[in-house]
Every structure is written in structure tokens, then in C-alpha cells.
Amino acid sequence: MTNRASLGLAVAIMALAAWGIYSALDWPLKSKLFPLVICVPLFCLAGAELLWVVLGKGAARAASDFKLSAEHAPEVARRRTLLAAGWTVGFFALILLVGFPIAVPVMVFAYLKVQGREGWIFSAIFTAAVWLFFYGLFELLLHLHFPDGWLFGGFGGF
């Protein structure tokens, strides 16, 4: 899994660097100098990583960054990862459609009920608390304005 992810990233970066070089060719010298100086080595380094993975040479030592927890079976982990990603993207879609003030309580409540399997009353109270905090702080105190959702005619926010 680690190797496949590394491969994917290497390929993606090679593509990005290639695009970077290609776009920069038309620019005046001063504008294209740094991008070229960055993208050419980037392309080569990504190529090196690609070869390393493909040729299967030696395990790389761990990065100085956190490792995803390996407590569960890969199947469980994969399912839950997709779930988490789904909630994140779904929340964004909800915000687009109905606006922040409505999306927030809906998402919190839905998550507690569906993922957390909490009871109705607890979910309702928790959602109310979160919404109150969010509304009180951002709308009332700071007057930060959130646009209406697309379903309600607001097309702003971009």
C-alpha cells in the first residue's frame, strides 16, 4: 500500500512538473526562470522515486511524519477511510446547497445518528449546543456573513 501510494504520487508529480515546464516555455525569461529551475529537478527526482518503486529496491526508512494507525484489518481501514472521505466531501456539497447555517446542524446530527449511533435526544442536544456556539460566535459576535445555499438562490461564495 505504501509503495503504491508512493508510485501514484511520483507519477502525479512527474505529470505536474511536465505541465509546469510546458506552460512556462512561453513566458518571458524572468517569469520562467524559477519555475524551470524547480520543475526540471522535480521531474527528475520524481522519476527516480518511480524507478525505485518499480524496481522494488529496498524499503525506504520511515518518514519523520506520522504513520496511519495499523490497528485494524486493511479492509476495515479502507472502508472507514472511504466513509470519512465521503462525510467530508458530502459536508461540502451540503454547504454549497443549503449554506453553512443549515448544513452545520444537519451534518452534526446526521453524523451522530448514523456514525455514532447515539440516541435521538443526545444527538439533538449536542447538535443544538454546537449550532448555538457556531451561530453565537460567528454570526452574532463577529458578524461573519455566510452566503445562502444554491437551493435558495444564492450563487455567491466563489
Binding site: 458578524h143 461573519l144 456573513h145 444564492g154 450563487f155 455567491g156 466563489f158
Partner: protein
């Protein structure tokens, strides 16, 4: 006969349009920049004092919508904001130039906004470090060594003003750009890395007062104390160059533009214009502006619109020539 008069008197209030009243409402001023800059500071000053001058004493808040050098804010004001008098927008004064030079992404028309006016005039000057031998503009013209002018990047007056002086009038400038802000350029001036910079009088004033730099030339619009300073246009070698310089300076008379969305009802616009004029004349607001060293004068919306028309109705050959020198940016 008398009953006709009585009837008319009873019906009169129904016939006369009601004065727009904002009681209990919230007006939002959308600023096309992040907090902390000049446009934002002016907007917040207005937000503090406007409620006293708008009928109904509404709440006035500021919302920052930076991005695309405030084109995003202008687009929002033109296409998304509702023309109900509850949204006011302020953005980069060079946006008419962006429209003129057909910058990609422009989705507004400066002429169609409901103009409130401008909350300030800007005076652009070029200031040179005091310990250099160039005391007047004539000295600068005769300079043998290149004079290093620090700037942030194309589109800012720190870059465009000296650029036109260099390319059109032939001054011996080396324009070094890439500084992250005009304050950083002043540090470079102190270090003798740069010899001077162009910019608005209000941003240069603390450094002039401190004795670091002195102004040598200014753009068209002026301020008390600077009238005697030579104007860049007077050195233009031909009418076309003069037109280009004038075009660059034109937006400075509408230095802090305030608009409402197109099709805002005329009576609301009228009320807003009067409110702005009153706020800017308010001694308390003026005192605050002075303390903050902010320029604070009202130019009425009709005047602002006239200047927009001037800018946007330039002949094609001037616009093409202009675009060779001046790009839209910061």
C-alpha cells in the same frame, strides 16, 4: 371645494414615496482586500460612523472578500449582491483599467454600478532619499548613475508611475521589483539598497515627516502643500504619452470607490450619497481619519461616474499603447 383639499391632504402621504428607512437592518460593506490594508481601514472607519447618518440607524458591518486583486469582490457586487441597499462594495481603484484592458475574469461594468462616490483622493508622488544629491526633478533628469527605484510589482503605483517616467520621459531609472510591501521598500531605502519609491502621499507621509525622503514629482491630482511640485504629465514628450500618463492617474481621483449593485433604486442611492457626504464631513470621523493618517474626502457619485466614462471611452490606439506599459495587478 374644501372637501377636495381635505381629500388631497389625506391621500398625499400615500402618493409621496416613503423615504428609505434602514431601521433594524444590517448593511454590509464588502471590501476587496484582507483586513489591515488602506481600503479595509477606510471601510471600517465608515462602518463605525455611518449608522449615525443613515435614516433608521442600521448596523453596519465589514466583510472581507479578497482575491483576484478585488476583481472577485467587484464581480460579486455586480452579479450576486441584491440591489436592496443593504450591500455596499469597495475595491481596487484600478478596476476600470482592468475593464479597459480586457483583463480575463472581469465580469462587471464600472458604468453600470450604482455609484455612491469616493471616500478619498490619492496623490501619487515619487519620493527620493534625502541624502542623495537629487533635490528636484531637474536634478533627477540629469542623473548620470541609474537611480534605483524599489517597487512591489506591475499594476501597483510603486511600479507603474516610475515606469512611465522611465519609458516615456526617458529618466535614468533602475526599477527593482519584488518587494513584498511598500513598507519593505522603505526599509530598503533606509538601507541604501533603494534610492526611492513611488506611492501614495498618505503612505509616504510618515517617512517624509521623519526626514527620510522628499517628494520630487507628482501625478495629476494634488493635495494642499504639494501644488508647486511638478506634474509628470507636463514632461510628456508628445500628446500620446500625456494621454497615457493621464489614463494611469485618472482612477486616483476615485481612490476609494464605493458602489452599490446595478439597478439599486435611485432614492436609496440618493440617501446613501447624502449619508456618505455627511459622515465624511463629520468632525469626529475626520479627527479619527487624521489620527490614522488616512485621506478622507468625499467625491460624489456623479463625478466618479464621469471619471469612469473618461477612462472607459479612450480611443483604441491609446489603450493598446497603454497596455504595452501598464499591466493590471496589485
Amino acid at each position: 371645494m374644501k372637501w377636495k383639499l381635505a381629500l388631497a391632504a389625506m391621500l398625499l402621504p400615500l402618493a409621496a414615496p416613503a423615504q428609505p428607512n434602514f431601521a433594524g437592518k444590517t448593511i454590509t460593506i464588502i471590501v476587496g482586500y484582507k483586513p489591515g490594508g488602506g481600503y479595509d481601514a477606510t471601510a471600517r472607519l465608515l462602518a463605525r460612523h455611518l449608522p449615525d447618518h443613515v435614516p433608521g440607524k442600521p448596523t453596519v458591518i465589514v466583510q472581507n472578500m479578497p482575491g483576484g486583486n478585488s476583481i472577485i469582490a467587484a464581480n460579486h457586487m455586480y452579479n450576486v449582491a441584491k440591489p436592496d441597499g443593504l450591500t455596499i462594495g469597495t475595491f481596487n481603484r484600478n478596476l476600470p483599467i482592468a475593464q479597459l484592458t480586457k483583463v480575463q475574469g472581469v465580469k462587471y461594468d464600472m458604468l453600470k454600478f450604482a455609484w455612491i462616490g469616493s471616500a478619498a483622493n490619492e496623490t501619487t508622488i515619487l519620493a527620493i532619499r534625502n541624502d542623495l544629491p537629487y533635490k528636484t526633478f531637474e536634478d533627477l533628469r540629469k542623473a548620470k548613475e541609474p537611480v534605483v527605484i524599489g517597487s512591489t510589482g506591475p499594476g501597483a503605483n510603486t511600479y507603474d508611475f516610475p515606469l512611465l517616467l522611465k519609458d516615456l520621459v526617458g529618466l535614468n531609472f533602475k526599477i527593482v521589483s519584488g518587494y513584498s510591501s511598500s513598507a519593505d521598500i522603505m526599509l530598503a531605502v533606509e538601507r541604501k539598497e533603494a534610492d526611492g519609491r513611488a506611492g501614495s502621499l498618505s503612505s509616504l507621509r510618515p517617512f517624509i515627516d521623519r526626514g527620510l525622503v522628499h517628494p520630487v514629482i507628482r501625478a495629476r491630482s494634488t493635495e494642499p502643500g504639494l501644488e508647486k511640485l511638478p506634474v509628470d504629465e507636463s514632461f510628456a514628450p508628445n500628446p500620446r504619452a500625456k494621454a497615457i500618463m493621464a489614463l494611469r492617474s485618472a482612477p486616483e481621483q476615485v481612490a476609494r470607490p464605493y458602489v452599490m449593485p446595478p439597478s439599486t433604486p435611485a432614492d436609496i442611492v440618493k440617501v446613501m450619497r447624502k449619508a456618505f457626504a455627511d459622515v465624511i464631513a463629520d468632525p469626529a470621523a475626520q479627527a479619527e481619519a487624521k489620527k490614522a493618517k488616512m485621506d478622507f474626502d468625499f467625491t460624489d457619485g456623479d463625478e466618479a461616474l464621469k471619471i469612469m466614462k473618461e477612462v472607459l471611452n479612450q480611443p483604441k490606439d491609446i489603450v493598446d499603447e497603454f497596455s504595452k506599459y501598464v499591466k493590471f495587478g496589485e
